[in-house]
Amino acid sequence: MNTILFNSIWVLPLLTVLACVLVPATYEKTLRTIHVTSATIVLAIVCYLTYAIYALSGTPTDPAAAPLALRFFTDIPWLSMFNAHYIVGADGLNMLLLALTAFIVWAGVLVSLKIKGNQKIFFALIQLLATSVYGVYMSFDLVLFFVFYEMEALCMYLMIACYGSGKRDYGGKKLTLTLAFGSSMILATLFGLYFESGATSWNLIEIAKTTLPMDFQMWAFPLMFMGFAVSSSLFPFHFWSPDGHSAAPTAVSMLAAGVMMKMGAYGCLRVAMFLMPEAAKIWLPYVVALLIFNVVLGPFIAIRHKDLKYITAYSSISHLGLIFLGLAALTPIGLRGASLQMISHGFLTGLFFATIGMIYERTHTRDITEMGGIMRKMPFLGVGFVLAGFAGLGLPGFSGFIAESTIFIGAFQQDSTLTRIVTILAILSITTTAVYILQTANRMLHGPLPQKYESLTDGCFREKLVIVVLVACLLFIGVCPGWISELLDQSIAPMIRW
C-alpha cells in the first residue's frame, strides 16, 4: 500500500495535467480547484509517508537495495536496449526532500491562483515541473533520474518567458540554457559510468558496487559534479540564478530556488560522490576554493542590489554555497548539515519568494528604494518577510541555525587548512548576511509610506495560510531537529564510502 502511495507521488501531478486537458481554458475556477486539490492530496501523501518512514526506522529495509537503506522499493524493467529500469525507493534523505517539494508546490499553486495569462497552461506546467522534481528525488535508475532531471528545462523556459516579468525572455533563456549545459555534462558522464563500470543496468546501487577505473573517475567526477553544481549555482555557474529568479513569476521562483536548486546538490551527493568516492576525495578540496565566491562574496553582492529578487537570489547563492561546504567536508556531520541545509533553505527561500511575490503584486515594484513603511499597511506580509530573513541569517530557533551550525562543525572536522579557513570565512559571512537582510527589511518595511501605497491591503486568507505553513515548517525543523537528523543519518551512513 505504501509503495503504491509512494509511486503515486509523481504520477498524480501528471494525471492532473491529463485531466485538465479535457477542461476548457475558460473554466478557470474548475481548473484552479483541480490543481489545488491535487497539490493538497500529494502533500498529504508525502507527509504520511515521511511519518511512515520515521515510524519504520529500526525495522529492516528492502534487501534488494542494500547497502542503501531504502523502503518502498520498486524495480520494473523499462527500456530493454540499454537495460534501463524504473527504480524508485525512499530513504530519509529523499523523503524529506520530497516533503519539502510537496510543501513548496502546494504553496506555489496557492500563491499563483491569480496569475494573469492562460491559467490552464500555467498550472499544467507547474504540475509537470513538480513531476520532474519528485521524480528526481525518487529515482535510483540513472536513466530515469536523468529523464526527470532534464524535464525541468521544458517547463522552466515557458513559465518564465510567458508568465514572468521584466527581462523574461532573457532570464528564461539564460536559466534554461545554463541548466541544459549542466545536464549535458551529466549526460556525457552517465554513458561513461555505465560502460566503464561494466554494470548490466543503470541501477545506481549496482553501479556503486563496482569499482570504477581511477583514470575514468578523474575526468568524470569533475564533469559530473560541476554539471550538477550548475543547477545549485556554484561559482562560476551562478550567473543564471539572479536573472532567472528575478524574471520568473512567484511560484516559479519559489520552485526554482526552493527545490530545483537542491536537485543539483542532491545529485552531487547521491550520484557523483556516491559513485565516484575516490575521485571525490581528490577533487572536493578544489571545490572548497570555489566556495569563497559563493559564501563570502555572494552576501556582499546582495548588499549592493536594490531589487528584492536579486537580493534573495544572491542570498540563495551564498546559502547553497554552504551546502557544498558541508558536502566537501566529507564527514558524516558535514553531510548531515548539507542535507539539513537543503531542506531548511528550501522552506526559507520559498517563504522569501512567496512574500516578495505577494508584496510585488501590490506595489508593482521590487525596488527597495521606492518602498517604505509597508509594515503599516501589510503587517502580516512584512512579518513573514522578516521571519524568512531571520531564518536566513541563522537565528537560533529557526531551521537555518541548526543546518548552518552542523555544516560548520562538520567542515571544521576536516583536516585541511583550506577548508578550515573557508569555514571561518563562512561563519564570518553570517554578519554580512545580517547586514543585507536587516537593511532590506528596514528600507522596505519602515520609514515614511509613499503616497501611492496608501490604499494597499494586507494578505488575504490563502496568502496568510501559505506564510503560516511555511513559517511553521521552519520553526518545526529549528525547534526539534532530532528526528530529522536521525532520518538523515540513517540514509547518509551507507553512502559514505571514502
Binding site: 515557458l158 518567458a161 554513458f191
Partner: protein, 478 residues
C-alpha cells in the same frame, strides 16, 4: 507468370501502386478525391503488410537483382512507409489550402506517385545485396525527389532550388558510382558477401579511395559537412510537403545506405573507419547547429536543424551492429514524427502567412493548440525528455559511447545546448512575442487538428512508453 517471393511483395505492391493511382486519375474528374483515398488505403495496407514479419523477411533473386530482406530491412521499410504516409497527408493539406502558389488539385496523384517511387527506392536500398541493385535503389529514391522539388514550375525560388538539387545530386551520384567502381575493382564482385570477404582478407589504397568516394557521395544526400550547402536553398524553395519528405525519406534512405555498407560489406574495417565517421559526425552537427543560430526563415532553419540531426545520427554508426541499427531505426521513427509535426505546423502557417519567425508572433494567444504542438515538436527535436526526441538521441549516443567514443559523445551532448538555444528562439517567437495585428488569421480544419493531435501524442508517448524501442531491439536480438 512471375513467381513473386513473399518478402518482395510489399515492394512490388508499392511499385504497382503509383501507376494505379495515376491511372485512376485519368478516369475521374479533376476535383475528385478518389486518387487520394486510394493512395491512403494503399499506403496503410502496405504498412500493415510489413508488420507481418514472417512474410516480409527472406532473401533470393528476383529479376536480375539479389535481395536480402532482414529485420533491418523490414523495420527500415516501416520507417519509410510512415514517412510516406505522413508526407501524403501533408501533400493533401498543401494541395487543398496551399495559398496562391499551390498547384492544381488534380496533380496530387502524380505528386503522391512520386513520393511512392522515392519510397520504393528506399525499399530497394535497404534490401539490396549487390552493388547494382543498391545503386539502382539509390537513384530511384533520388530522381522522383528532383521532380518533386521542381513541382512549382512558375515559382522562381522553386526552380532555382530544383536546379541546384539536380546538379548537386548528379555530382553526388557520380561520386558514388566512382566509389562503387573502385569497390568492384578491389573485390572483383558485385555481391556484398564477396566484397565483404575481400575486404576482410586485406585492405589496400584502392579500398580506401572507394570508401572516401562513397562517403562523399552519400554526404551530399545525408547533408554531411562539407556537402550540406545545397540543403537550405532546396528546403526553402521546394513546396512544404517536399521539404518534409526530403528531410525524412531522403535522409532515412541515405543513412540506410550507410548502415548497409558499414555493417555489411565494409564491416571488417568498421573500426578503421571510425575516425572518419567521428570526424564527419562531429563537424556536421557543429556546423548544422551554428548555421541554425542566425536563421529567420522557418524552412532554412529546419534545413540547418536537419543537418545537425544528420550529424547526430552519424554518431550511432560508431557502435556495434545491433545497438547501432536499433538506435538509428528508433531515432528515424521519432525524428520522422517530430519533423512532420513541425512541418504540419509550418505548413498551416505557410498557407496564410510568410514562413518566417515573424509570422509566429503571438501564436500562443491566438491559437494555443498550434503553439503547444510547435513547442512539443521543437523540444523533441532539441532532445528534451520526456519527449521522444530525447530517447532517440539517447539511443544514438548510447551506441556511440558503447565503443568508447566518449569525447565525441560529450561534444555532441554539449552541442545540444546550442541546439536548444535556437529551438528556444522559435518557441520564443510563438510564445513570448506579442501578437501582430497585420498577420493573417490562421484557420485550422478538423483534419489538420486531428493530425496535429495524433502526432503530438505520438511524440509524447513514443519516448517513455517502451513498446517501440523495446520491439525494435527485440527484432534485432531474436
Amino acid at each position: 507468370m512471375f513467381n513473386i517471393p513473399n518478402f518482395i511483395l510489399p515492394d512490388v505492391l508499392l511499385l504497382i501502386f503509383p501507376f494505379v493511382v495515376i491511372g485512376i486519375r485519368l478516369f475521374v474528374t479533376t476535383q475528385s478525391k478518389v486518387p487520394w483515398r486510394m493512395a491512403n488505403i494503399g499506403f496503410i495496407a502496405i504498412f500493415f503488410l510489413l508488420n507481418f514479419i514472417p512474410l516480409a523477411s527472406g532473401n533470393g533473386k528476383f529479376f536480375i537483382c539479389n535481395w536480402k530482406v532482414d529485420d533491418f530491412g523490414v523495420l527500415m521499410r516501416e520507417v519509410l512507409m510512415v514517412s510516406a504516409l505522413l508526407g501524403m497527408w501533408l501533400s493533401k493539406d498543401y494541395f487543398e489550402h496551399g495559398g496562391d502558389k499551390k498547384p492544381p488539385m488534380h496533380q496530387i496523384a502524380e505528386f503522391i506517385g512520386a513520393i511512392a517511387f522515392a519510397t520504393f527506392g528506399g525499399f530497394t536500398v535497404v534490401s539490396a545485396c549487390d552493388l547494382l541493385t543498391f545503386f539502382l535503389g539509390l537513384e530511384i529514391a533520388t530522381i522522383p525527389m528532383y521532380a518533386l522539388a521542381a513541382w512549382n514550375k512558375r515559382d522562381q525560388y522553386g526552380s532555382e532550388a530544383a536546379t541546384k538539387y539536380i546538379l548537386m545530386g548528379s555530382v553526388a551520384t557520380a561520386f558514388e558510382l566512382f566509389g562503387f567502381s573502385y569497390l568492384y575493382g578491389f573485390s572483383g564482385s558485385l555481391h556484398f558477401n564477396e566484397i565483404q570477404a575481400a575486404v576482410a582478407s586485406g585492405s589496400s589504397p584502392l579500398l580506401w579511395i572507394a570508401v572516401l568516394f562513397l562517403f562523399c557521395g552519400i554526404g551530399f544526400k545525408l547533408t554531411l559537412f562539407p556537402f550540406y550547402t545545397w540543403a537550405p536553398d532546396v528546403y526553402e524553395g521546394a513546396p512544404t510537403p517536399v521539404t518534409a519528405v526530403l528531410s525524412v525519406t531522403s535522409k532515412a534512405t541515405a543513412i540506410a545506405f550507410l548502415v548497409v555498407l558499414v555493417y555489411g560489406p565494409l564491416s571488417p574495417i568498421q573500426d578503421k573507419m571510425a575516425p572518419l565517421i567521428a570526424l564527419l559526425a562531429g563537424v556536421t552537427l557543429f556546423v548544422g547547429n551554428l548555421g541554425a543560430l542566425k536563421q529567420s526563415r522557418l524552412r532554412r532553419f529546419m534545413a540547418y536543424s536537419s543537418i545537425a540531426q544528420a550529424g547526430y545520427i552519424m554518431v550511432a554508426l560508431l557502435g556495434p551492429a545491433t545497438i547501432a541499427k536499433t538506435a538509428i531505426i528508433y531515432y528515424l521513427f521519432v525524428y520522422a514524427v517530430s519533423n512532420y509535426l513541425a512541418f504540419f505546423v509550418f505548413g498551416i502557417i505557410g498557407h496564410h502567412r510568410e514562413e518566417t519567425f515573424q509570422s509566429l508572433r503571438g501564436l500562443s494567444k491566438q491559437n494555443p493548440s498550434l503553439a503547444i504542438a510547435l513547442a512539443i515538436s521543437m523540444f523533441s527535436l532539441a532532445g528534451i525528455p520526456p519527449l521522444a526526441g530525447f530517447f532517440g538521441k539517447f539511443h544514438l549516443f548510447f551506441s556511440g559511447a558503447s565503443t568508447g567514443h566518449y569525447a565525441l559523445v560529450t561534444f555532441a551532448v554539449l552541442n545540444n545546448v546550442i541546439a536548444l538555444f535556437y529551438y528556444l528562439q522559435l518557441i520564443k517567437a510563438a510564445w513570448v512575442d506579442e501578437p501582430d495585428g497585420h498577420l493573417n488569421p490562421l484557420r485550422l480544419t478538423k483534419r489538420q487538428r486531428e493530425v496535429i493531435i495524433l502526432l503530438s501524442a505520438a511524440v509524447i508517448v513514443l519516448g517513455f512508453l517502451p513498446f517501440l524501442s523495446n520491439n525494435i531491439f527485440a527484432g534485432f536480438t531474436n
